[in-house]
Amino acid sequence: MSSLMSSLAASDERAVPTPAKVIQPAWVRTVHWINAVAMILMIMSGWQIYNASPLFGFLKFSKSITLGDWLGGALLWHFAAMWLLMVNGLVYLALGIATGRFRNKLLPITPSGVISDARAALTGHLSHDDLTRYNYVQKLLYAGIIVVGVVIVLSGLSIWKPVQLQWLTALFGGYDVARFVHFFCMAAIVAFLVVHVALAVLVPKSLRAMIIGR
């Protein structure tokens, strides 16, 4: 009893707290937010470019959510923001591999783990106590979105340079198919974004961790 009292008294004297574990290091946070900006610029300008020759007759993006006002402007934005996306993306991939972060945070991913965590998430039983560890659903989606990110860039390059990079365009099944691949990757990223932002809002300490790191 007395040891408890003395411990509480000690805390009254404004003891220095043990610092919380760093959940998201500074480089991760920096790369994350730069990517967020670059991605949004790419998607919004991409939608304006899409409008110039829609892949689906029923789908056109409202000008209120596109960037660039017209095809010419949208292309300027798209081919400018691509540099930000690419350089930042390469830094992220390089550091993620070199620091071992991808291996530590994203692996392993097991089917049984995904199923059980997905079930827990959907029934509201998934714990978020330890933000330093990703659950199986997170691991699957984060690893997955990295793959989608790589494919969207490669498919973009293949439709930008179908002569200079004709081997790449051929890998995607030709120019026309590559356009669809590029579109469906965008759709996957947008779907991820919706879920990602919703969950960050539902578990605010995860958003906080991505801003201040802890």
């Binding site: 805390s11 404004r14 110039a52 010419g72 300027l76 081919f79 400018a80 002569v163 801003i211």
Partner: protein, 261 residues
């Protein structure tokens, strides 16, 4: 955590006790959050403002587009040929595309038409259609890719531009071949010399083995399968070999000048 566990009073909620204890400690975390939040807010402000309308944003975008010209020129492989297809792959009907309707497409009198050759060339004589038709011709079945994103496979027959440039004694160290057209607004487009010398760059006189129809640029089109469609001018009336960048119909409106595929 072990030390804390030994302090717990039976019946007291572990979590609530810890939370209360934490509240007593100096809230460095909260201070840090505000500092972090403030800089995020600044970033939002920066991207949230109407940057796309301001003069400096457009300026920056155009500078990057110029940088992209240099990058594209660097990755341009003069030996890489645009893929060629079989005749069966030709898009039928091949689309008409211009900033005007087909009804307003120029009607050129082939007998009166002369191709003017200007600038850094030895022989500035102008050429009639009859004279040009006599030059050796090759056919290509390649993909036309529009800046809008759609594409169509077509068949174009004509004289390789690089052979013509040699014939007229053009200075192939010059930077551009600048083409002018017969339409009402004076469509024009600059072609970098390296691309002009590419084996598939062609002075086109036929489409699908027939004399170029009015819809596709009669009497002459410059076919450049290593670039986007708008760099393939139709109804061409003159060419100037020059070191000056003279602009282009779409290039002046912000479309990337190199626009290589």
């Amino acid at each position: 955590m072990g030390r804390l566990r030994s302090l717990l009073i039976p019946g007291v909620d572990k979590k609530l006790l810890v939370r209360d204890a934490v509240k007593v400690m100096p809230d460095l975390a909260r201070r840090r959050f505000i500092a972090g939040g403030a800089s995020l807010g600044a970033l939002t402000l920066l991207t949230g403002c109407n940057v796309s309308d301001s003069f400096s944003a457009e300026d920056m975008l155009k500078k990057i587009s110029k940088f992209n010209d240099a990058v594209q020129a660097a990755i341009f492989n003069p030996n890489a040929l645009a893929p060629e297809f079989s005749e069966s792959a030709i898009t039928k009907p091949f689309p008409f595309n211009a900033y005007y309707d087909l009804d307003d497409a120029p009607t050129v009198d082939g007998k009166a038409w002369k191709f003017e050759v200007r600038g850094l060339v030895d022989n500035k004589k102008s050429w009639t259609l009859e004279e040009l038709y006599k030059l050796p011709q090759v056919k290509q079945v390649t993909r036309h890719i529009c800046v809008e994103g759609w594409s169509a496979i077509g068949s174009w027959t004509g004289t390789p531009l690089r052979d013509f440039l040699k014939l007229v004694g053009a200075d192939t160290r010059a930077k551009y071949c600048w083409f002018q057209c017969a339409d009402s607004e004076g469509y024009n487009s600059p072609l970098d010399m390296e691309t002009a010398l590419h084996p598939q760059t062609q002075m086109t006189f036929k489409f699908a083995d027939e004399i170029l129809p009015r819809a596709y640029g009669y009497p002459m089109k410059i076919r450049v399968p290593t670039k986007l469609g708008f760099k393939n001018p139709k109804y061409v009336i003159s060419m100037e070999v020059t070191n000056e960048y003279k602009g282009g119909y779409w290039e002046d409106q912000g479309y990337n000048s190199f626009s290589g595929s």
